[in-house]
């Protein structure tokens, strides 16, 4: 401390200039800083404090005791989940669902937007768009309720199967059907809404490019391949990076509503396991350790995707 204090001594003349400028900038804009102060305090308490609250993953936590736990236990809880067979099951389920979201529900709105883009009748286009947004505004609880009705033993889907002479399937209780149901629901709810940003990007593509392509004899498919898709690529990349961390969360609330003990085998994911271990069984530290593992993997994925994208496509978030 003493030494550091002395060593800054001679430098003070050098750094006083920018400091003065900083102070003047602050004096001029103090009202702007005053405005943002409350949200910053809010953010520190409700977003950054919980981040540091993850310290209980390394400490023994007793509900009702200190919020930062009682004493250090090191990687005890991490070793615990690494030898927990359920962890490997939920980890695998999470990866499979995240992969399905990545290859099915992420590209689907892009294709939907491209199809809509080919519709010249404005009224029809508007009608399709408006209808497709609707499920986005339904509460996930209502959506889950609708799913249960759709796939119920006497529901429309089973009626259809029976009509074609098939045997009724008790979808909601069969682990082999969970992933199909989950992805279908995600697709159903997100297709139209997910397409909006792409449609916005599509309207930004210069018409002249298409005119030029037509003169060169390119058909509509060639135009799509060489003008439309490159035109919306930056939007695709930005949304992919933004979502890649969320894929691991796999719509946790949706799983929580749609699964049941009979389908845990395929439906249980990291987030729901953390919920049950932490909030239902009260093993706060153990749950936090697993949750922290998931958050860090998510963060690495986002930074990794951003880095790769900057190298390969020249598009990135930062």
């Amino acid at each position: 401390m003493e030494e550091a204090g002395r060593s800054t001594g001679p430098k003070t003349t050098k750094i006083s200039m920018p400091k003065k400028r900083n102070f003047q900038a602050f004096k001029k804009d103090w009202q702007l800083y005053a405005l943002i102060l409350l949200p910053i305090i809010y953010l520190v308490i409700f977003k950054y404090v919980p981040m540091f609250g993850n310290i209980i993953a390394f400490r023994r936590f007793i509900p009702g005791g200190s919020i930062i736990g009682e004493d250090w236990v090191g990687f005890y809880y991490f070793k615990m989940f690494l030898s927990d067979p359920t962890f490997y099951n939920v980890f695998a389920n999470t990866l499979i669902l995240a992969f399905l979201l990545l290859v099915i529900t992420f590209p689907a709105p892009i294709i939907f937007a491209l199809l809509l883009n080919e519709v010249k009748n404005r009224l029809f286009k508007r009608f399709v768009q408006t209808a497709s947004y609707l499920p986005h505004f339904f509460s996930i609880v209502v959506v889950a309720g609708m799913v249960f009705e759709m796939v119920a033993l006497n529901g429309p889907l089973n009626s259809l199967i029976a009509f074609f002479g098939g045997d009724k399937i008790n979808f909601i209780q069969l682990p082999e059907w969970f992933r199909t149901i989950f992805v279908s629901v995600d697709l159903w709810q997100g297709l139209g809404w997910g397409a909006i940003l792409y449609l916005a990007a599509l309207t930004g593509i210069n018409e002249e490019l298409y005119e030029a392509a037509k003169i060169d004899g390119a058909n509509r498919w060639k135009q799509t391949l060489h003008i439309t898709i490159p035109g919306i690529l930056p939007t695709i990349v930005v949304l992919l990076i933004l979502n890649i961390g969320n894929f691991l969360q796999v719509g946790f609330e949706k799983v929580l509503l749609l699964y049941n003990p009979l389908t845990y085998e395929t439906a249980d994911v990291i987030a729901t396991y953390v919920y049950r271990i932490g909030l239902e069984s009260g093993s706060f530290s153990y749950g936090t350790a697993i949750g922290l593992f998931e958050s860090i993997v998510g963060l690495i994925l986002v930074f990794g995707a951003n880095y790769l994208s900057r190298r390969i496509t020249d598009n990135s978030l930062w």
């Binding site: 602050f26 939907f112 509460s139 119920a152 916005a200 049941n260 919920y275 932490g278 706060f284 963060l299």
Partner: protein, 290 residues
């Protein structure tokens, strides 16, 4: 301009595919609507698809005469209004200063907010914080911890950035300070974005269920989403018990559940035709800069 026969064929198929998407998207909703007006016997035998069979409004009467339903419904309205106001105020307080390019530390502050999009404390540390602040069984557990959507805030910031500086400079000449400019010039010019943000936040709060699910034990405080959730999950736990009486019970509740679902989404459905264009324009506004 003539289209090739391939493109014409494509257009026919495209129209069919899009119509199919519309049908699949709307079917579950209309099915629930039909169920809500049908009698159990017809739902039970799988005869109700898009038109009510054995027309019945009794269930609507039963649900609407349930005191708890109205208490929970009123709670949802309160949580939505209070939550939306808090969210809007906080978002504006961040977005406006961050829209000023000259602001020192703007980049750092933006990163400070954006980082929380990619990394958060996780379920349990958040739970520990909220409960140790004494927010359990109180409205604050719902409206405070998730008040700010960084994504919405960035859309707002983009909008504020596009307001010409000249307007504000003129006001400074007239002796207005930052708050005067914000309230007299910027906010009145920002009605479209404020309307959009209000709708974004209101829908999020209206549909929220998980915070209430983990922080509330007092039934009188539940939002209507928990009322519905308990109904759905309660009926589900009766599923597959084998007994025919249990099956009957589930089917009776199919009708009740449909009614509750319809009543829960009703405000959104009524407003939907008017508000959906604001949602779209809001997303468009934010996408200008990506």
């Amino acid at each position: 301009m003539k289209d090739s026969w391939q493109y014409k064929t494509f257009k026919v198929f495209n129209t069919i595919i899009l119509l199919l998407i519309v049908v699949v998207t709307l079917f579950p909703f209309f099915n629930i609507l039909a169920q809500s007006f049908s009698s159990e016997a017809y739902i039970n035998s799988g005869q109700v698809t898009l038109w009510p069979k054995g027309f019945n409004v009794e269930t609507y009467k039963v649900i609407m005469s349930d005191n708890m339903f109205w208490i929970n419904y009123k709670n949802t309205v309160i949580y939505t209004v209070v939550g939306t106001v808090i969210s809007l105020i906080l978002s504006t307080m961040i977005a406006y200063p961050l829209a000023k390019k000259r602001l020192k530390g703007r980049r750092f502050l933006t990163m400070f907010f954006v980082f929380t999009m990619f990394f958060n404390g996780g379920l349990i540390p958040n739970y520990v914080l909220v409960t140790s602040l004494g927010f359990g069984n109180s409205i604050w557990a719902i409206v405070i911890p998730n008040a700010i959507s960084v994504f919405n805030m960035l859309i707002m910031r983009t909008f504020f950035e596009n307001i010409p500086d000249e307007l504000e400079e003129a006001a400074i000449m007239d002796g207005s300070n930052t708050f005067g400019i914000l309230f007299r010039i910027v906010l009145p010019l920002s009605k479209p974005i404020l309307a959009t943000m209000m709708l974004f936040y209101a829908v999020t709060h209206w549909n929220s269920w998980f915070p209430a699910f983990i922080y509330f034990t007092d039934k009188e405080l539940f939002p209507v989403s928990i009322y519905l959730r308990n109904m759905i999950k309660g009926a589900e736990s009766g599923l597959g018990t084998g007994a025919s009486s249990a099956d009957n019970l589930v089917q009776i509740s199919a009708n009740i559940k449909s009614v509750t679902m319809i009543l829960t989404v009703l405000p959104i459905l009524v407003l939907y035709p008017y508000i959906q264009k604001y949602f779209v324009s809001g997303v468009m506004l934010g996408s200008v800069k990506g």
